[in-house]
Subunit: 292 residues, 2 copies
């Protein structure tokens, strides 16, 4: 049997599979668990070299459910993967104290901060569960749904109607990140964000699309590294002119020239998360998020 | 001049305008500020009767920027609206300690929890700033953008292609909350969520749309109170059959009957936030969020 030297060498190697240490992390909440997830995750990003298995336990609003969680967490603690970690936003004292008895590191977001806040504000908290991410703020809810409808209708230049109601209009070449950013601004912040593509016809005319002239103060640009743009476009329309690297270079350069001439602020989306782009836009326009 | 008794009575009333106490709250972060906002907001919902003016100060990553923040917060403290509150996720010790000297209640999310976590995990944290909501997790980033593209393409039954790739397919009558929920699942959790409307033709046939039969295990239903549905539809197409209360009753009843017959799980979106619906769906399908 023929063996290439490489295969022969490989077959003589001994492989060690080094298992990264693993910890199970529980996000426990009387509501959705989203706040616990975000707080917990932001702390866990500070620890490298450990694989975290993440489990969300939402809507834990009775002592019985807390007891079920405790049993589940204690079982994991006995499994030999190290002591689990609990990130809790539980508001109810009884539920919280039940869970605190689990064999786990208990990180308590609620009780830790509610005392200093009560002292600072000079009033007692109401200890109402499930207030975060609930539908009780109906004004905020409507604002948000309206913003989502607006952004969907005004995605990719989809409609010119009611553009005057936009808080922000994102511009940039196709696939520079406008759509996810608009949706994020609408869904998370309640901001009416339209987006409008800059296309080769605009570059030939060397002018902004006509409809945008009246709204220059609302425009914000996204640009992107041509190499990255090529990758994204290549995945969508392989080997098209659209995805061609030279064309991506051309479009990005032209778009940046156009934005420079028109005095439109912009940022580069290449190495930025959607959250970073969205937070930058709010800061630039001095808008605060409208909903929580 | 004629005056109705009611107007005459009203004109004799004395009105007191009671100003709610106001506090200014600062969310300060070396990153986007989103984690600080969520932590702060979830705690502030526990305090009623105070109007909080919320200010986000993102990307505070140098001692100079921290000093600017401190000056701004100290100026607010002198304005007579009570001591401001700072919710900080600052990671860098120097930046954090500079801000801590502001005349404010300082709620320190990072330092409070990093010590017990280091002890629990038995390793030191790396004190790297801006890790939460950064683009450094490129796998997560791509997954998320792909999920958003998928959900946009499969909004409102927009495409039958690649439905087998959906993690979840939401069904329900028009305006029952499918679109914002799908977008939230995609954008926040990295879940590929399609949505497909149930329409009068389906009710007449008393069958699910043909294309959905193969994907029954992925279906999840949203229903809504007919009165609320009427309100939403009325705002979009005033005085249409679509918005008529009797028609809304009919569609909701038929949709629920259909889902019951087909064994599709569903929840009522009427009094639930998008986050609550999304978190319930993940729990029902036993899926964890895919991205942070």
């Amino acid at each position: 049997m023929f063996r290439s030297p490489a295969v022969a060498a490989a077959s003589q190697r001994t492989y060690f599979i080094v298992m990264e240490p693993r910890r199970t992390v529980y996000f426990v909440s009387d509501g959705t668990g989203i706040t616990a997830q975000m707080l917990g995750h932001s702390l866990l990003t500070q620890f490298e070299g450990i694989r975290f298995q993440q489990v969300t336990l939402p809507f834990i609003d009775t002592a019985e459910k807390a007891l079920e969680c405790r049993d589940r967490i204690d079982a994991e603690a006995s499994a030999g993967n190290g002591q689990p970690i609990i990130f809790s936003t539980l508001v109810d004292g009884e539920v919280r104290n039940s869970l605190r008895q689990a064999n786990a590191v208990f990180i308590d977001f609620f009780e830790t901060f509610i005392d200093p806040l009560e002292a600072g504000l000079g009033i007692k908290s109401n200890h109402t569960i499930g207030r975060s991410h609930s539908a009780s703020d109906t004004g905020g809810y409507h604002r948000r749904i309206e913003a989502v409808n607006f952004s969907m209708a005004h995605d990719d230049g989809g409609s010119h109607r009611e553009l005057d109601q936009a808080d922000v209009i994102l511009v940039g070449v196709s696939r520079s990140g406008k759509t996810p950013t608009s949706l994020y601004l609408a869904l998370q912040f309640g901001i009416k964000a339209a987006n409008y593509p800059l296309i080769p016809e605009d570059f030939e005319r060397k002018r902004l699309p006509e409809v945008l002239h009246a709204y220059r103060a609302k425009l914000f640009g996204l640009t992107i590294a041509p190499e990255r743009l090529r990758e994204i476009r290549q995945a969508r329309r392989p080997d098209s002119k659209y995805a061609d690297l030279a064309n991506c270079h051309y479009e990005v350069e032209q778009a940046e020239n156009l934005m420079r001439r028109e005095g439109i602020r912009w940022i580069d989306s290449t190495a930025r998360s959607i959250e970073e782009i969205a937070a930058t836009i709010l800061r630039e326009f001095r808008i605060e998020r409208q909903v929580y």
